[in-house]
């Protein structure tokens, strides 16, 4: 049973359509990245899922059920900005959040320690830097040890060390079996931690699936023929293989091509060798998520 299912969800603000019939499903145990440029509908999607924005159409299901207070308590979420009472200390704010979540108040100390706020827990939220506010918001999502975490731009305002810490935290939590949904425009972040990804652009879903499958479609094989192989022979041999496409010359006698799903570099090597063509080099060039993202949102 999926943790979260969105079915044909749309949202309009006046004449602006922020989401156009979004359908996606998050499986248990996955780290699901929601990617998209600014204004693509990531926060709107999460806001609807978390019950603070009213969808113009479509439906949301959490844990196979209609959204309710009870199933929201099974989710720890940080949406858009850290939202706390400025005149309360970090600790007071977390105790308050624990009451709302009906979480054990003892988890407040764990959350403060995990996010490195232990020494500043008695300082007022008002005096916190953006990075510390973000840490407190992360701490709040951990209260009561929820099954699911929803993190909207979790590394906003953090320094490089903080970003690395959040990444470690996400990896550790995922290893504990938690389902994590991350919205981000930082592709590097998503590529390093996510198992699944959905790419949004102007409220449209451009692609969704496991990270490796989204990326695999963009992988190219690089062929370096042996010096005695004629280019024409190579081109003819490749043209005869239905699962090879988009042959392009690269620099210095090197060619690249795209293999259809289910075919790997070993298949290519074998097929060419059977036709008497030896390769001096063969490798797969993984495309970065960034290149693929730019391609998808072009």
């Amino acid at each position: 049973m999926p943790i979260l299912e969105l079915d044909n969800v749309s949202k309009s603000y006046g004449s602006t359509t922020a989401l156009k019939g979004l359908t996606l499903s998050v499986e248990p145990g996955s780290v699901y990245g929601l990617l998209g440029p600014n204004g693509s509908g990531k926060t709107t999607t999460l806001g609807i899922a978390l019950g603070v924005l009213r969808a113009s159409g479509g439906s949301v299901r959490w844990f196979g059920q209609a959204p309710s207070s009870d199933n929201r308590r099974r989710v720890g979420a940080l949406l858009e900005t850290p939202n706390f009472f400025p005149y309360l200390s970090a600790r007071q704010n977390l105790l308050l959040a624990a009451d709302v979540k009906r979480a054990d108040p003892r988890t407040v100390d764990q959350a403060l320690d995990l996010t490195g706020l232990g020494t500043r827990q008695h300082d007022k939220f008002r005096g916190f830097s953006l990075g510390m506010k973000q840490r407190l918001a992360l701490a709040s999502t951990l209260l009561g040890n929820p099954e699911v975490l929803v993190l909207d731009e979790p590394t906003n305002g953090l320094d490089p060390q903080g970003i690395a810490e959040v990444r470690d935290l996400v990896t550790r939590l995922a290893a504990d079996g938690k389902t994590i949904i991350i919205a981000s425009h930082l592709l590097d972040e998503v590529e390093k931690v996510c198992t699944h990804v959905a790419v949004l652009q102007r409220g449209d879903l451009r692609a969704a699936g496991p990270v490796h499958s989204i990326l695999a479609t963009a992988d190219r094989v690089i062929l370096r023929p042996a010096p005695d192989t004629s280019i024409v022979t190579l081109q003819q041999a490749l043209a005869a293989l239905p699962w090879v496409s988009d042959l392009k010359p690269e620099t210095a006698g090197i060619y690249s091509a795209v293999l259809a799903a289910g075919h790997g570099p070993a298949d290519l090597n074998r097929a060419l060798f059977e036709q008497g063509i030896a390769l001096a080099g063969l490798e797969v060039r993984h495309r970065s998520l960034e290149a693929q993202f730019l391609e998808l949102t072009r």
């Binding site: 207070s69 009870d70 309360l88 105790l95």
Partner: protein, 253 residues
């Protein structure tokens, strides 16, 4: 869930300042009241004699209720400004729970107002008109009507806060309605209707002392009797909280 509300309110200095202001201003006003002229008479020590004291005190206190209304507006608009209503929904509250908590806060403010009036009544009555102490229990039920008035006014404040969502404009709208808009509206409405307007109904719960005497001179006033106003005040209170709920439920947070 009220524990969460206490966690917000107890460390909030603004709350204590406004509550202190309510007590101090009311006490000063009542203390200075001995030299006030009311209905053409120098009030003097007769102001503090039981049982008439309760009606005078609740009438005077009704003017200070606006402070409690302003406090509730601040507490509710803060939640919009800090986006904490939004966060509490995310954390597992429902819209109904958010408003139930604020209703409980308004009940707490009502109890605070009633206890303040009760405390000041006994203090001034027993120190300045001790000879009437044996009548102290008479008319004390007027405090319950005063409590309903506070609750009603706070329900109006809550609706304004939920509609406007910002403290400055919210307080302004609340004061403008109570002091300007409804009185103006009353001018343009026939007497038979204007006494049913909400602020007028709430005010009718703590009538001007000596109103009965004035009525014999000027003819019956258009205001409802406290007992007539009571059910209407409760209906308005329920209506305003219900409207607040509908507004909050149907809007994005």
């Amino acid at each position: 869930m009220f524990r969460a509300e206490l966690r917000k309110i107890l460390p909030y200095r603004t709350v204590w300042i406004i509550l202190l202001l309510f007590v101090v201003l009311l006490a000063l006003f009542v203390s200075a009241g001995g030299s006030v002229t009311l209905n053409g008479q120098q009030v003097g020590a007769t102001l503090y004699t039981f049982p008439g004291l309760w009606q005078k005190l609740t009438y005077v206190a009704s003017y200070f209720n606006l402070l409690l209304g302003i406090l509730l507006i601040i507490l509710i608009t803060d939640e919009f400004q800090f986006r904490t209503f939004r966060q509490q929904i995310i954390d597992g509250s429902s819209v109904a729970e958010l408003l139930q908590n604020k209703l409980l806060v308004s009940v707490a403010l009502m109890v605070f107002g009633m206890l303040t009036v009760l405390g000041l009544g006994f203090y001034f009555g027993l120190t300045r008109a001790a000879e009437t102490a044996n009548k102290a229990a008479e008319g004390i039920t007027g405090i319950a009507l005063y409590g309903v008035q506070v609750l009603g006014l706070l329900s109006m404040a809550a609706l304004v806060a939920v509609l406007v969502r910002r403290s400055g404009p919210g307080i302004l709208l609340f004061l403008l309605y109570a002091w300007v808009a409804e009185p103006l509206l009353r001018f343009s409405l026939p007497d038979s209707l204007d006494r049913f307007l909400p602020a007028k109904v709430f005010n009718s719960l703590t009538p001007l002392p000596g109103q009965e005497m004035l009525d014999t001179v000027t003819g019956p006033s258009s205001a409802l009797l406290p007992t007539e106003a009571l059910p209407l005040a409760l209906v308005y209170t329920a209506l305003f909280w219900g409207l607040s709920y509908l507004v909050l439920r149907n809007r994005d947070l």
